[in-house]
Symmetry: C2
Subunit: 343 residues, 2 copies
């Protein structure tokens, strides 16, 4: 036994493991706090395809929208067309993927991301998520609502926006999470994530934020350095189940979490985040609890990211910073956005 | 049915699916061929911790090695120490991870990567892989031999090198591949990858390179744009089973594949690659066939990569370029390295 040792933790939602090597990180945490040039973006960019009033690649013009604006992705990865059928074998298995893809502009301003929105604006985003889910869950089993934020996350368009990809089939992750949550429910007669949320609220060491309806933790099995899991504390399986006051408290906690993220390195913190709603064709969905994953890549500064490469691709995820230390750093981050602080 | 449609393919080694959206890519392939500055590296860099004769962080000096050189990773993610035991539940599962990590320098020269090595030098690399596997498979069940190549793959050290991480436990990917290959063997009474290799050699459309002992394909279920799978064509489960002439033909095909990779965009093609040997404690290993995965991130040019972000992290991998088109591009790439061509 030694502090110079590694361990693994198991993700009960997916069955995957993560290798943790805290000894690679056991010097006191001293991540650089680089004040990156904010790159002063204008509030309206005439060349941005997402700004109000501008014309997009397909010739359509965006309206002068006051809060959010949703349109069909001009380069959708999914369409309503069936692909040609192919003969399947155990080695060559292909199936059609039918669906659609949309873009959600979060606000008219080109230069204000989620933590910089006013409460009412943030609520409009949550409301749009719910509205999209409601519309699309009537047509498709799997509605993926997500956001890629920052160039480092493949987002070439700084205008704050998210996406919706909806389709008939269960994606690999949804199938996995459904299977693991179902098995847990069968064995314990309670929902995995409700139980997990309560254990974390008691333990406190991985807790980042909490209100009556929601809890944010760095999960015990986090793979990304500052990964978090946002869990609904009630028996809510999807956005359709959500009450208005729960949507309100969701807007508040997302604001808080993304503010803390920006304050870790005093930069616009990149991440991919997304919602995992219960598949909409489930008859019995008591095992599923609505949750969102935040996967931010930064490790030591605004410009030093964790690379998930060789070992991670070929074996399993690996991290140095423990989830407990990451949670501690996030807890200590101010609730006031660094750009709004007068010091 | 329409060419404007998406489909999914299933990876039989892992059970994961990939979403393919060829319509996002159905204009004729015209990836830019950017001639990047080769950055003229010296053949010896006095500040490189991997060059012969230099001193590393821990004060040790590298010998004047003529071919390959192996040393213990100075910042190993795994050690021989047991970690403290924790009480496990279905939600909080942690186990000790015991192992070691080494670095393999591929050649004394600071500036020559695998495709630029002479045949005898490339053979020395293969021989070192075998030798490391032989030593470490006696002590550990899981020996991961891999290479991260290029800054884009988190490799900050241009001196050509790979790594070995060996440990007692089965990593997530090895457990998955073992399970799927076992199940296939039980059902078909033949090894999945031997059968798959033969089907691909017949079909030819995903074939990239072939000799008597090895085949390289863009797998039917490839997730990275130019991903390849290098499969042994014989009942060889790990490096210990490999005959000398198979090691020789392996050196040749790795040379060929990495040369073709560099020729795709006339640049030093980044990738993570790694070997999947049978876990060494398997008594019955007829279901396992020795293979390597190459995961290169570039998509359209030396500077445009595929981002595996939001949808990919939260749902499943997605690609635009079909595996068949990628194989076609790789087949057409010259077998002479672009830096050696006189035109
Ligand atoms: O060991 P290195 O080269 O310092 O580090 C690199 O490879 C490791 C194994 O794939 C990864 O965990 C690191 O994120 C990566 O930067
Ligand atoms: O749809 P976008 O923003 O053009 O593209 C981005 O998000 C997609 C969904 O996560 C990914 O497939 C792309 O690789 C990424 O660059």
């Amino acid at each position: 036994m030694s502090s110079h040792s590694a361990f693994r933790r198991r993700n009960p939602l997916t069955g995957e493991w993560v290798l943790v090597s805290p000894h690679r990180n056991n010097r006191p945490w001293s991540g650089a706090v680089e004040e990156l040039p904010v790159g002063k973006l204008p509030s309206h960019d005439p060349n941005c395809p997402l700004c109000p009033g501008n014309t997009r690649a397909n010739g359509e013009s965006n309206p002068e929208y006051p809060t959010t604006f949703v349109f069909d992705n001009d380069f959708a990865a999914l369409t309503r067309n069936q692909s040609a059928e192919t003969p399947n074998t155990d080695l060559f298995t292909q199936e059609s993927a039918v669906g659609l893809a949309r873009v959600i502009c979060f606000a008219p301003d080109h230069n204000r991301s989620l933590p910089q929105l006013e409460p009412a604006e943030m609520f409009a985003v949550v409301d749009t998520w719910r509205d999209q889910y409601q519309q699309l869950s009537e047509q498709f089993n799997c509605v993926h609502i997500f956001e890629n934020k920052g160039e480092i996350m493949g987002c070439s368009q700084p205008h704050p926006h998210g996406q919706v990809w909806a389709h008939q089939h269960y994606s690999t992750e949804i199938e996995r999470e459904n299977r693991h949550q179902s098995e847990y429910f069968e064995q314990h007669n309670e929902a995995m994530l409700l139980e997990y949320a309560e254990r974390e609220i008691e333990a406190r060491e991985r807790l980042v934020a909490l209100n009556n309806d929601w809890v944010v933790v760095v999960p015990y099995w986090a793979k990304w350095p500052f990964e978090t899991l946002l869990i609904c504390r009630h028996a809510v399986a999807d956005f359709n189940d959500l009450k208005d006051e729960q949507a309100q408290s969701l807007a508040e906690i997302v604001s808080l979490l993304t503010t803390k993220y920006d304050n870790v390195f005093n930069c616009s913190f990149p991440y991919s985040m997304g919602w995992h709603n219960a598949p909409s064709d489930l008859v019995e969905k008591r095992h599923w609890v609505l949750h969102a994953h935040f996967y931010p890549p930064l490790l030591r500064s605004a410009s030093v990211k964790k690379h998930m490469v060789g070992y991670e691709m070929l074996a399993e995820s690996q991290r140095d910073l423990t989830p407990e230390l990451a949670a501690d750093i996030l807890r200590q981050c101010s609730e006031v956005h660094y750009l709004e602080r007068k010091e």
